[in-house]
Symmetry: C2
Subunit: 156 residues, 2 copies
DNA sequence: GTCAGTGCAAAAGTTTTGCATACAG
DNA sequence: CTGTATGCAAAACTTTTGCACTGAC
């Protein structure tokens, strides 16, 4: 039951270690904890939120906010994690181990629904091509109100 | 030659005044200058960059950064301008007078190309519908390398 | 005249950096 | 051992707020 998840995390971890080694960086407990926590929460978190979760989960390990920022930057630079900029402010991180997906965000409860659509991806490539643009990535976020919140707020 | 632009700006301005009046807010020189500057630069600017341009352009008018922030927030709340969150950090604003468009951003020179695609928009609506989501807006940014930069950097 | 808006400076956040110490390789 | 990483605190930024004064309506 838990086997598959562990294998997935293990390969993620191995990949991360590999990247660190290749860049002459060191593998530390803090970095492992940050990666593990990002993996376990499996969502989108600001550096600060992540920091608080880690402090809660590993009270003995005295992680500093600076380390969280530094590690997230390493993770992002090495494409292990990606950051998203949401609406008003702040940057949120998520692991980039999932194939590829975009986000649909509820304006009211901030729930994030992930989705993937081949048709749009294809069209994006074509648009880029038409303009002589070499595509390397994209960000697509749909904003709206999720079904749950639509029920809650009758009018407005 | 300049006629059309003026008409466009005038209607933008009239609309803004209208919104202000409807909300019991006041129309001030500062607000006009900020709107006019946003219009004239016709691009995407951070509050800080906008502030510097205004200081340069209107040295006599002693605008404060706080007013720029306050006005941008008013503009955004009233849908006259929209803000985009780009890559690493900061929020950029642009006027929302253009019909609708998305952005293609060059990772090297940061040029922003605007585009619009009905096919994608339609697909987005359908995706939202499939998931019981009531769509109110979206953000789509394609990242890559523009044709100019592709020529400049041969390899890499 | 009234009340919202403004500039300034201080405050509140958020992210980065400098430094002495700790620890991975 | 060597040199990178860490925690802490300070610094650097970005954005918001409080306040006395100005100016739009």
């Amino acid at each position: 039951m838990k086997k598959l998840e562990n294998i997935e995390y293990d390969s993620l971890l191995a990949n991360f270690k590999d990247i660190l080694k290749k860049n002459g960086l060191k593998f530390t407990i803090q970095r492992e904890v940050i990666l593990r926590t990002l993996y376990s929460i499996n969502g989108h978190f600001t550096p600060d939120a992540l920091y608080l979760i880690i402090k809660e989960k590993y009270p003995d390990l005295n992680v500093g906010i600076a380390t969280v920022y530094r590690t997230l930057n390493v993770l992002e630079e090495s494409d292990v994690a990606t950051s998203l900029s949401f609406g008003s402010q702040g940057k949120k991180f998520e692991l980039g181990n999932k194939p590829h997906h975009d986000h649909m965000i509820c304006k009211i409860c901030n729930t994030i629904i992930e989705f993937e659509d081949k048709a749009i991806e294809k069209r994006q490539e074509q648009i880029a091509k038409e303009r002589g643009f070499k595509l390397t990535g994209h960000l697509m976020q749909l904003y709206g109100i999720c079904s749950k919140c639509q029920k809650t707020e009758t009018g407005e």
